[in-house]
């Protein structure tokens, strides 16, 4: 009775180093519960590789759900505990709506583009 659910190939994750401590994480596809665990794991791995500031480029993310955002929180915790930060860039309208609905925009402030996210000084 167990149906086979297609998994994998739903989200493409690329970690592009900017310098030793900084990387831009490019996500492509739907950031939802099907890929949440994978995304979180990749972000934590990036921190373990030594990156302290992660900028998540959301420009090619077509859809976000709460579990997907949860994965980003997992990444945020990893960076913060390592003394760094995780920032969102190029967040689409749908994702922005969920960020506001969950009030998560008080924890993860969206930046208009990658450059600003990289340079932002609070």
């Amino acid at each position: 009775m167990a149906p086979e659910f297609v998994k994998g190939a739903l989200m493409e994750i690329t970690v592009n180093p900017v310098d030793e401590r900084t990387a831009v994480v490019q996500l492509r596809g739907r950031l939802d519960l099907l890929v949440a665990a994978e995304v979180k794991q990749r972000l934590v791995q990036a921190v373990n590789e030594g990156f302290r500031l992660l900028v998540v480029d959301m420009s090619e993310v077509s859809f976000v759900d709460s579990s997907g955002l949860g994965a980003l929180i997992g990444g945020l915790k990893a960076t913060r505990l390592a003394g760094g930060d995780l920032r969102l860039a190029c967040v689409g309208a749908q994702a922005l709506a969920i960020l506001e609905l969950t009030t998560l925009n008080r924890v993860l402030r969206p930046y208009p583009n990658v450059a600003e996210a990289l340079q932002a000084n609070l």
């Binding site: 009775m1 167990a2 149906p3 659910f5 998994k7 519960l33 099907l34 665990a37 759900d65 709460s66 579990s67 955002l69 949860g70 929180i73 997992g74 945020l76 915790k77 913060r80 505990l81 930060d85 969920i98 609905l101 969950t102 009030t103 998560l104 925009n105 008080r106 924890v107 402030r109 609070l122």
Partner: protein, 658 residues
């Protein structure tokens, strides 16, 4: 006149079930209003002219108990006022991605196998998982034999609070991907149609929870432990449903994952903000303490820095109120605190460094623990510190707090009844719930008194924890109806002390002649009797053919348990004491259990003696207060009948092995 009367009776006889249901709902409304009006009429008189000030302590105590009961019937009346009977569910849309979770923790493998087998056989396409918190090889083998998924805690839980069943569910949610989750206890065997009968409600995109009844098939005749809850899984949940406040009861319920995740995120943000505000509060205390302790020499060097720090705290609070991101608030605060520290002359820097090393090692860990422990937090804030150390403590505090909290949880962990707490948070986040009153699983109830009491204690403790940690009366986002519907359940668990007062009242009168009212006059009866009668009538109409007598007996007879629940839950929430939470054993424990009901057994002879004394003295002509004696004897007999339930329960011996 006569013919129109006949018309109506004739009409009524031809009513179908729908008309009868509507009639009943209307009758309930009328009775609720009548009951509350009569109650107010009685209590106004009781609270003003009737109090016997010669026995003022007793008089006030009894009046308090009666007030408690009246508020209880107000909340109960409100709950059932909007009774919602949903009837046939909407059809389940095909193609939904559904997971079935069976939670288990060291239950007998063969018992769990029955549930697993039935869960795998559920008709609607789904994926079944056994969530084994006991991590037992036998369970794993059984799951494999039955073709069922098997999940245990991931390595990430090592060294962290496991949060019992809530943690078990959180762990499984992380490892699965269904859009909907049916949750089953290890001893709740589902019927094949359970998903077909519940998934249809989720066509409404705002529905986050569908709860169905818990019904037990192993209950012996007479239900000696009062396991069935036909009043709760029926009129009470239906009433709450009418206010969109039917709540999650841990098993036999389907949840929407997006609702859990979104609620988790919302409350995560709320938690982070609360932690920052707490940290700021403590910072204030630390600074004030340091200021008070300044020596004359220090004053010039250090006072300005402390003043600066205090300004930084106030500024951070303003920024939070304004809605700035937490990171902005905390980083700006940190910068300001650093500047303040630099104001202290360089000569002191060395001392700061020394203090700092000590603080980091010792206090960091303590502060973390203190965040969940009010008493420890207060103790930390009050600790003796040099002003320099105080500055450093404040500076270190905030990032520590914020970063550690970074974790969102789809299931609430503030209470051992994570189910109720989770659904209340879902309601506060705007989700809807459904109570579908159809038995879709056959469960097993505890088969001995100890297990039954333990389970009841855990529910009560958990409910009180929620009341003290996230009171529905103040939790933002709930509607007024939802606030009162949740509070109704909490209020009902506070009945322990009022019950004691009700129990000793007839004893005090019959043996010691203490009367809490001025006079048991005619007026007393005219005010009390209609209230009591309508109260019983209302209860009868609400129960409507469901056996609720056992439940009534237990809610009175378990008064020592309710008191214990409140005191242990309060000690847990306020002082961080352990609840002594024990998972209900699913296998029967042997033996008789008079020790478990000693308070009830102590109370019963007292009541019996009071009855004998009262009636005896009256018969011998030693007293002439006939009416009050009769009233109090009647009252004592009622108490005795209610309490007697525990004797049967303690002596109960199952006849055949199951």
């Amino acid at each position: 006149m006569r013919s129109s009367y006949l018309d109506t009776t004739f009409l009524r006889a031809s009513w179908g079930p729908a008309e009868w249901a509507a009639f009943r709902r209307g009758l309930i409304k009328i009775l609720v209003i009548t009951n509350l009006t009569l109650g107010a009429y009685y209590l106004l008189w009781r609270g003003t002219v009737s109090l016997n000030w010669n026995a003022w302590l007793f008089a006030l105590a009894l009046f308090g108990a009666e007030l408690y009961s009246y508020i209880g019937s107000f909340l109960f009346g409100l709950t059932v006022f909007r009774l919602r009977e949903r009837g046939e569910p909407p059809p389940a849309p095909p193609g939904l991605r559904v997971d079935v979770f069976i939670t288990c923790y060291n239950e007998p493998v063969e018992l769990v196998r029955k549930t697993v087998r039935a869960a795998v056989a559920i008709r609607y396409p789904h994926q079944t998982y056994l969530l084994d918190d006991g991590n037992s090889p036998a369970m794993r083998a059984m799951a494999a034999e039955e073709g069922c998924g098997y999940i245990t805690r991931s390595a990430a839980w090592k060294g962290f609070d496991r949060h019992a069943k809530a943690g078990n569910l959180i762990n499984a949610l992380e490892q699965t991907t269904g859009d909907f989750v049916l949750i089953l206890d290890a001893d709740q065997v589902p019927l094949p149609q359970i998903l077909d009968r519940t998934l249809g409600y989720f066509a409404d995109p705002l529905v986050g929870l569908v709860q169905t009844p818990q019904y037990f098939i192993n209950v012996p005749p007479g239900d000696p432990f009062g396991s069935q809850a036909p009043l709760f899984y029926g009129p009470i949940q239906q009433g709450k449903d009418g206010w969109n406040a039917a709540f999650f009861c841990g098993s036999n319920a389907v949840l929407r994952r997006e609702a859990l995740a979104r609620t988790g995120l919302r409350f995560f943000v709320r938690d982070v903000e609360r932690r920052i505000r707490r940290a700021l509060r403590e910072a204030d205390t630390v600074i004030r303490q340091a200021e008070r302790r300044l020596t004359k020499v220090d004053r010039q060097r250090i006072a300005p820095a402390l003043r600066e720090l205090r300004r930084a705290v106030a500024q951070a609070r303003r920024e939070l109120d304004r809605g700035d991101t937490f990171q902005e608030v905390t980083e700006r605060f940190q910068r300001r605190a650093e500047e303040a520290a630099r104001m202290v002359v360089a000569a002191d820097l060395q001392q700061i460094m020394a203090d700092l090393a000590e603080i980091q090692a010792v206090e960091a860990a303590e502060i973390m623990r203190a965040l969940n422990d009010e008493a420890l937090l207060a103790e930390l804030a009050a600790r003796d510190r040099s002003p320099l150390a105080a500055i450093e403590t404040v500076r270190q505090l905030i990032p520590l707090l914020v970063n550690e909290a970074m974790d969102y949880l789809p299931i609430s962990t503030i209470s051992v009844t994570e189910d109720m707490s989770t659904s209340m948070r879902m309601h506060a986040t705007g989700w809807r719930s459904v109570y579908h009153d159809e038995i879709l699983a056959h469960g097993l109830a505890p088969e001995d008194l100890r297990s039954a009491l333990q389970q009841r204690l855990r529910w009560a403790q958990g409910t009180i924890q929620v009341m003290l940690r996230e009171n529905p009366l103040t939790l933002p986002g709930l509607s007024l109806g939802q606030r009162l519907a949740y509070f109704d359940t909490m209020w009902s668990y506070l009945s322990g002390v009022p019950t004691i007062i009700y129990l000793i009242s007839p004893v005090l009168y019959l043996i010691f002649g203490l009367l809490p009212v001025n006079a048991l006059s005619d007026e007393f009866f005219w005010r009390l009797a209609p209230y009591l009668i309508v109260n019983q009538l209302l209860f009868a109409v609400i129960s409507w053919g469901r056996p609720t007598w056992r439940g009534q007996q237990y809610s009175l007879a378990l008064f020592p348990l309710w008191i214990k629940a409140v005191t242990t839950a309060a000690a847990n929430v306020w002082f961080g004491k352990k609840l002594g939470f024990i998972v209900t054993p699913k296998t029967r424990q042997a033996g008789r259990y008079f020790g478990l009901v000693r308070w009830q057994l102590l109370m019963m002879p007292l009541l019996a003696v009071a009855i004998v004394v009262g009636l005896g003295q009256l018969a011998l002509g030693w007293r002439s207060d006939g009416l009050p004696v009769v009233v109090n004897v009647f009252w004592a007999v009622y108490d005795l009948v209610m309490l007697s339930v525990v004797i049967d329960a303690a002596m109960y011996q199952p006849t055949e092995e199951q």
